[in-house]
């Protein structure tokens, strides 16, 4: 007979090499360094594929810590798990039904408040959460300090700081994951604070569900999803918790009553959805404020909710630089100048090395020709090997290598300075007329 966990593993295609292996879900916003953490921990012990029935890529890898195996499942990067997209649905379903022993949510220290949105939503689904605040090195460059201990107190789950790019914090992360899986860390995840109208409507429905669920799922969360009439959840629940749960007369009566009371207060179902999102956003803001920093209603002056900012220098300097790089008068000329400059450097700079390579490689070809003559080899062999293979290779290397060796490092330099998004920003309007978007300016430039 197959256990529920084994069934879950099979459905989500999680491969355990050992029955004692722990499954760890890895969640986080896009571009927070989730893949960096994943790759740093699993190295070459990965295998990739697709999530079952979806066109979204998946990756699993194993990491060994103190002799135990941990299978990390890299979930798609998402800003929330309201299941409004395939990626969100996958992430949510895995956290709910995938049989993970713990979930690590990777956050970006440079915009913590936004990341807390996902953290709070994940904590509504499972109590076994470790928060990994990554990109601490980037945050430090921007003068942002995060009080990790305060964050841990506010969230009620273990918090670890990291700079995954340089490997820092990963050992500590594994320590917390190990302890959490062993049950050594009691967690008390902070709930989202919903407004009174929502709470009133949800309470009786949640009570009903709690009796039916018997602790298998967060009843408050499920009640909200029932009210929002989230159809994506129905199939999963039917499979895991039995068809009886949702096919319940009393349940739907309670749901209708709740919706009616909301309507009476002027809250339509669509508005309910917006309110739920707002409540999560404001809960995240509240946490960010109480951890430190004065970010209430702040907008883009370089401060980030949840952090203490040292004299806003870095951000102000960025803003001033942007004024020059993207303004009406100076933005486009600078961009054209840089583009022409790089192309010119590439073309003229490549001439000398190209000539050298060409001379050198064709000298070798002459030596090869001499050898083939001396060895008395047939014409066709000479033609195929020397004229065919070697000469073509020589041409390509002599002509293409020098320009690429100059262009790509220069382009990478621009990227490191953060200039490329400004190019996309400047050109988006024009590219839109061709039904493209600003980012395609960059691919055009490379071409």
């Amino acid at each position: 007979m197959v256990t529920a966990d084994q069934a879950a593993n099979k459905e989500f295609m999680v491969v355990k090499t050992n029955t004692t292996d722990q499954i760890i879900a890895l969640a986080g916003n896009p571009n927070v360094g989730k893949s960096t953490v994943f790759n740093a921990l699993t190295g070459m012990n990965q295998h990739t594929g697709n999530w079952p029935g979806k066109t979204v890529g998946s990756a699993q890898g194993t990491h060994h810590h103190h002799g135990s195996g941990y299978i990390f499942v890299d979930l798609p990067g998402t800003y929330s798990i309201m299941a409004h997209s395939a990626e969100e649905e996958i992430a949510r379903d895995f956290i709910l039904f995938g049989g993970a022993d713990a979930t690590v949510v990777v956050c970006d220290a440079t915009c913590l408040e936004r990341n807390l949105n996902l953290v709070l939503q994940v904590m509504e689904l499972t109590a076994n959460v470790v928060v990994c605040v990554n990109l601490l090195d980037e945050a430090e460059k921007k003068g942002i300090l995060i009080d990790l201990e305060a964050l841990e107190r506010e969230l009620g789950v273990p918090v670890v700081g990291a700079s995954a790019r340089s490997g820092k914090g990963l050992a500590e992360l594994m320590e917390k994951v190990e302890a959490l899986c062993a049950g050594a860390i009691p967690t008390n995840p902070r709930g989202v604070r919903y407004n009174s109208a929502i709470e009133r409507a949800v309470s009786s429905l949640a009570l009903l569900l709690e009796q039916r669920l018997e602790g298998r799922m967060n009843s408050h969360w499920l009640a909200l999803r029932v009210l929002e009439q989230d159809t994506t959840l129905a199939a999963g629940i039917k499979k895991r918790l039995g068809p009886g749960l949702l096919d319940d007369e009393a349940l739907w009566e309670a749901a209708d009553a709740a919706l009616a009371s909301l309507e009476a207060e002027g809250i339509s179902r669509e508005k309910l959805g917006d309110m739920v999102v707002s409540c999560i956003v404001f809960s995240a803001e509240e946490i960010a404020l109480s951890v430190g920093g004065d970010a209430a209603g702040c907008a883009g002056c370089g401060r980030c909710g949840g952090a203490v900012v040292r004299a806003g220098g870095a951000a102000d300097r960025d803003r001033r630089l942007d004024k020059v790089l993207t303004s009406r008068r100076t933005g486009i000329p600078i961009m054209l100048a840089l583009l022409c400059g790089i192309l010119w450097l590439t073309i003229t700079g490549a001439n000398y090395p190209s000539r050298l390579l060409s001379d050198g490689l064709f000298w070798v070809q002459d030596r090869l020709t001499g050898f083939f003559c001396w060895a008395g080899s047939p014409d066709w062999l000479y033609g195929a090997l020397v004229l065919g293979v070697y000469r073509v290779l020589a041409w390509v290397v002599a002509v293409m290598l020098p320009p690429m060796a100059i262009f790509f490092p220069l382009f990478t330099l621009l990227e490191d300075f953060g200039y490329l998004p400004r190019v996309a920003f400047n050109l988006d309007h024009q590219f839109k007329k061709a039904k493209a978007c600003g980012k395609q300016a960059l691919t055009m430039w490379i071409g």
């Binding site: 997209s85 915009c111 936004r114 907008a299 004024k323 993207t326 920003f425």
Partner: protein, 75 residues
Amino acid sequence: MKANNLTSLREGESARVASLLNTGRIKRRLQDLGLVEGTRVQCIQKSPFGDPVAYGIRGAVIALRTEDAQGVLVR
């Protein structure tokens, strides 16, 4: 009170979000970025052609196209 939208902000001006007229994916994306009722937004920089415009939203600088910014009503 006349409802303005984000595009009416000049560089340096800020306002609070009143509601979102956008729908579908772009609306959810804006909400994910923290653009919900009551959030303070600042117009930071307009691009050379006037579109897109960089806005400061909850500590991040986000570029929004005019067509999307028009759906964000502010007060």
